[in-house]
Amino acid sequence: MRLTLRIWRQPGPSSTGRFETYPAPDVSPDMSFLEMLDVVNERLETSGQAPIAFDHDCREGICGSCSMMINGIPHGPARATTTCQLHMRRFRDGDTITIEPFRAAAFPVVRDLIVDRSALDRIIEAGGYVSVATGNAPEANAMPVPKGSAERAMDAAQCIGCGACVAACPNGSAMLFTAAKVTHLGMLPQGQPERDRRVLTMVERMDLEQFGGCTNFGECHEACPKEIPLSTIARLNHDFLKASLLAD
C-alpha cells in the first residue's frame, strides 16, 4: 500500500504546531498502525530529521499509552480498538491519513502526538480507591459478591485510562473515565463505605482539572476502546445526586 500521512508536529508545549506531510510507500496491510509509524520514523532518523514523538508501550491494547486522533477519531476507525491494535488492512491503497494528538483543554501537548494526561491520575488520587491498607483484609470468600455485580464491576473496571473519551467529547469531559471507576467500586460491597464520598471528591477533582461538563453526546462511548457502557454515567449521576443530598 502507498499512503500519505499528514502529521501534527509540535516541538514543545509552548511552541506552535503545524501539519507536515510524509509519504509512506511500501506499507504492508498486516502492519499495525504504530509499526507503520516506526517505519516512517526510521526513515526520518536515517536522514537526520527528528522522528515523530508518540506515546506507546505494550502494543497489545491494554496499557493505554497510545493516544492519537486518526482522521479525526481517537484511535482511528476500528471499533473497540486502540491505535496499537489497529492494522493497516483497515485502510485503502492511496489513502491520506491525518494524525493529531488527543485534543482537550486538560491534555496539554508535550511534543508532537504526546499529551499530558496526568489529570486522569489526579482524579483517581481524589478517591478512586478502597481505603484498605496492606494487611487489613479479611478472608476473601467471607463476603460473597453476586456474579452479576462482579461482571458489571468488571465491565467498568476494564477502562485503560487512555483518555479517548475526553478527546472524543465536544466538551472535553472526563465523565466516562470517572464514571467507570465510580461504577467499578460502587458495584462491589468493598466499595460501599466510601461510595458517597468517592463520587463527590472525584467529580470535584474532574471539574478542577479543566475537563468540561457532560451533556450526554455519547461520543465517549463510541470512541472507547474498551466499550465502557454509557450506563456508568447514569450511575455516576445517580450516586452524585444522592451523595449531594445526603451531604447537605
Partner: protein, 637 residues
Amino acid sequence: MKLDARIPGGPLDKKWDLHRFEMKLVNPANKRKHTVIVVGSGLAGASAAASLGELGYRVECYCFQDSPRRAHSIAAQGGINAAKNYQNDGDSVDRLFYDTIKGGDFRAREANVYRLAQVSVNIIDQCVAQGVPFAREYGGLLANRSFGGAQVSRTFYARGQTGQQLLLGAYQALERQIAAGTVTMFPRTEMLDLVVVDGQARGIITRDLVSGAVETRLADAVVLATGGYGNVFYLSTNAKGCNVTATFRAWKRGAAFGNPCYTQIHPTCIPVSGDYQSKLTLMSESLRNDGRVWVPKAPRDPRTPGDIPEAERDYYLERKYPSYGNLSPRDIASRAAKEVCDEGRGVGETGLGVYLDFADAIRRLGEDTIRERYGNLFEMYERITGENPYRLPMRIFPAAHYTMGGLWVDYNLMSTVPGLFVLGEANFSDHGANRLGASALMQGLADGYFIIPYTLGDYLATARPAPVDPGHAEVRATEAAVRERVSGLLSVSGTRTVDDFHRALGKIMWQYCGMERNAEGLRRALEEIPALRREFSRDVRVVGTGEELNQSLERAGRVADFLEFAELMCRDALHREESCGGHFRTEHQTPDGEAQRDDERFAYVAAWEYAGEGRDPVLHREPLVFENVHLATRSYK
C-alpha cells in the same frame, strides 16, 4: 564478594514467622525520617511503594511511563496462583511450594519459594478487599481455573485481564498514598544509574524524559522493581519500553546478577508476520484449558485445518505428555512446538506455527461459554491476524516472554549491595529455571505487599544509614558518568538507527541463546555481540539533543545496555553445562529429547560479579540445598 543468602533457621514452614519476629522494627515516629526510593510501578513497585507509604516512610516512586498505571504488569492476562484450596481438590501451601520448585526444575531456593506459597493466600484477600473484580461463581464465591504445571485448580482471574485488575488495585493504593503525601510520584523519569556511597545504595541518577534534566536523588535505601530483560531478544511479549538498564547499571555498581541465562519462551504467542514486526502478542496460557494443540501428521500438509481429518492430526502434547497434556509447563510446550516445526510440520505461511484448536471445546460447552471465558483474547487474535478463532484454529508459536534470572537477592530480597533491594521479575529468586503460569503476579505482589515492608525496616533499623552529602565525590562521579554516557550516544552521528542494532542483537540472541543453546553457538554469539557493540559505538545515529523529549535517545541508552548485558547472558548459558527448565543445552538431553539436569555439578545459583571494564565477570556459586524436597527428574508424562 561473599554470597550470604541469610536463610533463617528452623523448619521450613516456620522460617518466615520466626524471621518476622526476629527482625528489628523502625519506630513509627522514625519512619517518616527515612526516604526510600522505589524504581518501577508495576505490581511489585506499586505494591511496595503503597505499602511502605502506608507504614509512614517517605517514599519516592519513579517510572518511565506517563502514569504508574501503565507499567507492563498491566498486560498479564491469565491469572494469579494462590493456595486457597477453595476447590477442595487437594491444594495446600506445601503443594504450591512443591509445584513451583518442580516447575523451576529444582533451581530455586526452598525457603523463598515456601514463603511465596505461604503469603499467596494473603494476596488474594488483599486484592479482593481493594475491589479487584475477580471472576466469581453463581454463589458469589471466587472462581478458579487451571494453569500449566499443576494438577489442581488454583488460579484466580479477572477475565483475560488479571494483570490489569491487580495492577489497578495496587495503583489505586499508590494513588491513595500520593494523596496522603507519603509517596511522591515521578512519572516520565528514568533511572540511569545507582548511587553507591561507602558500599551502601544511597540513591539513583535519573533523567527527566520531558526536559532531559539529569538529576541525583538520594535516599536511605533503594528498591528496584524494574521488571525483566526479555527485550534483549528484540521481539518479545514485553512492552516496547521494558529494559535492563536499571538492573544492569546496579550490576556494574556491585550487585551480583543471578542466573542471567534463565529465560522463558512462552509457547502461545501470535506468530511473526513480517520484518516490520515490533513486538509479539501473547495468547494467555489459560487458553490451553480448553484449546487443543496440534499439527498435521504429514510434513508440509497444504490442506486447510478443517480439511484434515482427526486421524491425520498429531495432538503432540497429549501424545507425549498424557498426564498433563495441553497443560504441560511452558518450557516443555515451547520446545515441543519447535520440534514439530523443525520436522516441517509447522503451519501457516512461514511454517513457524502450530494450531490451538477450540472446536472440541465449542462443541462441548457452546460458543457462549468460550466467549465468556476468553472473549477478549479471541477478539485480540482476530484484530491482529484478521482470522476468526471461533471458526478456524488459532496459529501460535513460542516467543520470549519472561526472565527468571535477575539481580541476586538474599532471603530479605536485598542484593549484594547493602540497601539495594530487588523485587518481582527484576530479582532471580523464586522461579528457578522456569516459571509456572500465574506465578509472576503472585511473586510481584508477595514481594511488594508482604515481604519488603518487613525486611526493609529491619535493614534501616540495623544499618542506620547516616545522611549523605550531595557533594560527596562518589555521588558526583556517578552523575558525571551518566552525563557522559548520554552525550556520548548523541555524538556518534553514524548512519544506522538504534532499532536496526536492536533487531540485529535480537537475531543473534534468538538464534544462539533462545529456545535451544549449544557451546558452539554460544561461542559464536560471544564473538558477534562485541562486534555489534563496537559497530554501535561507531555507527549509531541518535537524532536531536539531550535537553528535550527524545525517544531515540531513550532507546539508544537501553539498547547500549542490552548490547553489554547480552554477553553476560551467553556467558552464563555457556558455563551451565546442563539443561534445566528454560535453559536447554542440546548437548545435554535424555534419549527422548528431554532436559537433562546435572545436579552433581550445577545445583547452584550462578551469581556473576562485575569485575571492571574489559575484565571477565567473576562467577560466584550459591549452592542450592534441598532439605524438604527430593531432587527428581521432572516428568509430566
